[in-house]
Amino acid sequence: MTWVITKLCRDCVDESCVEVCPVDCIYQYDGSDSDAFPKQLYIEPEECIDCGVCEPECPWEAIFEDSQVPDVFKDDIALNAKMLECKDDFSVPEVEEKPRPTPEQVAENKAKWGYSP
């Protein structure tokens, strides 16, 4: 079991989740292959202790337990796990405070990715 960050995180990387993770298992991609690893945060599945503390912190509601990931985001489970293949290209980001999105922005972002909860 692990938690997974989905596409709803893309290009935001709010980092509130990074701040609260008790085991520092949320990473950013520092490498150059942005097709393989788009700009979003990733949960290292072997370090994640399944506590779920990050989930309510994400303003975009992008984090799910693997068994509960919506169908449109199923690929993201493998994408998070794929970081294990090149972990040296990942690091735990420095946390910067970012403005919170409005509920409308959150809904818009979900619609953009074809997710209707």
Binding site: M1, E19, V20, P22, V23, I49, D50, C51, G52, V53, E55, P56, E57, F64, E65, S67, Q68
Partner: protein, 342 residues
């Protein structure tokens, strides 16, 4: 104002503060996985008491007679920056005992920081020595090794004396009693066995699942002879037993077979700032509301004192009288264990 006494003349001495409802374990007696899947809504951060709010309330409680503070959860080590809270609480004059109950999973990485922040000691929950049984009881299949490393780290950091709590459930882990005793005998750690209680509404409690404390003591005594020891202080919940060979002691908490409500000096503060006067209560008095509405210390003190003065709770004694022929406890609403921290 004199420190308040409740309707049964009990003073207020202990405060248990729950700092998160999150946990990485899914122990069936507290937060069973089938109920707390992803769909379950844990509290949002804004609902939780902030550290300055907890500190302010703790100071008021200490002014009303509290001497012992215990941090609980959920799993308290999951609360972000917990050592900052510990530091704030450790500074309060009149706190004689500042401790924390944890599942031990993150203890190795935090032990030193917690000690430096001013934590006195820790209690670690460990329901079995055996990986298969422990894995079943934590609901996640986790092995004991990491918890044992946490206990060692806490000892090395000086968070002493360490207590190890084991909830004994008939048919689940009663065969872990003697092996656990063997594991901690001679280490200086105090192992305590707790009777399985009907905390919350989710653990399908039945009297038949309770292994009475006297049976636990008998099991250990047959292998490692024991003798009774006087309590450390009036109102201590665990009955103390020393190994006759001088290699330490164990305790039993007979909350079902010999309820100790008469000596209960304990209040609980939930994650969202509700004052609860019994582990088995259905609710309590909201303190967060008045706190955030700008209530003065004197006004908060008045609220807490009035709640305590009106307290009549003695559920465990009532349970003993009301448990039915099938061993079921009286049905009534209760706060869940992960909200109140045991």
């Amino acid at each position: 104002m004199n420190p308040p006494r409740d309707r049964l003349e009990r003073p207020l001495r202990d405060l248990r503060i729950s700092v998160t409802d999150r946990c990485n374990f899914r122990c069936p007696y507290c937060m069973p996985a089938e109920v707390y899947g992803e769909k379950y809504e844990f509290m949002r951060r804004a609902q939780l008491l902030r550290f300055e709010e907890i500190e302010r309330l703790a100071r008021i409680f200490v002014g009303l007679g509290v001497e012992k503070l215990r941090i609980t959860g959920g799993e308290p080590l999951l609360r972000h920056e917990l050592p900052v809270l510990i530091e704030r609480l450790a500074r309060i004059d009149g706190v004689r005992d500042l401790t924390l109950t944890t599942n031990g999973w993150l203890l190795a990485q935090h032990a030193r920081t917690l000690k430096e922040a001013g934590l006195h000691r820790v209690t670690v929950s460990l329901d079995s020595h055996d990986d298969a049984t422990f894995g079943k009881m934590n609901g996640r299949g986790f092995a004991t090794e990491r918890v044992l490393e946490g206990i060692d780290a806490a000892a090395a950091a000086g968070l002493l004396p360490i207590k190890i709590n084991c909830v004994v459930e008939r048919g689940v882990n009663e065969d872990s009693i003697v092996p656990l005793a063997r594991l901690f005998k001679g280490t200086g750690h105090i192992l305590r066995f707790i009777e399985f209680m009907d905390v919350g509404t989710l653990n399908d409690w039945n009297l038949a699942k309770v292994v009475p404390a006297r049976e636990i003591v008998k099991q250990i005594d047959q292998v490692f002879p024991l003798e009774a020891v006087e309590p450390n202080y009036h109102g201590e919940v665990a009955e103390r037993w020393a190994y006759r060979d001088g290699s330490g002691e164990v305790g039993v908490v007979a909350s079902v077979s010999q309820p100790f409500c008469g000596d209960c000096h304990r209040a609980r503060l939930t994650i969202d700032g509700v004052l609860v006067t019994c582990l088995f209560a259905a609710g309590g008095r909201d303190l967060r509301g008045p706190l955030r509405d700008g209530a003065s210390d004197a006004a908060l003190r008045e609220i807490i004192a009035s709640v305590w003065s009106a307290r009549r709770d003695r559920y465990s004694e009532e349970r003993a009288a009301q448990t039915d022929a099938e061993g079921r406890a009286p049905a009534r609403p209760r706060i869940e264990m992960y909200q109140i921290g045991g």
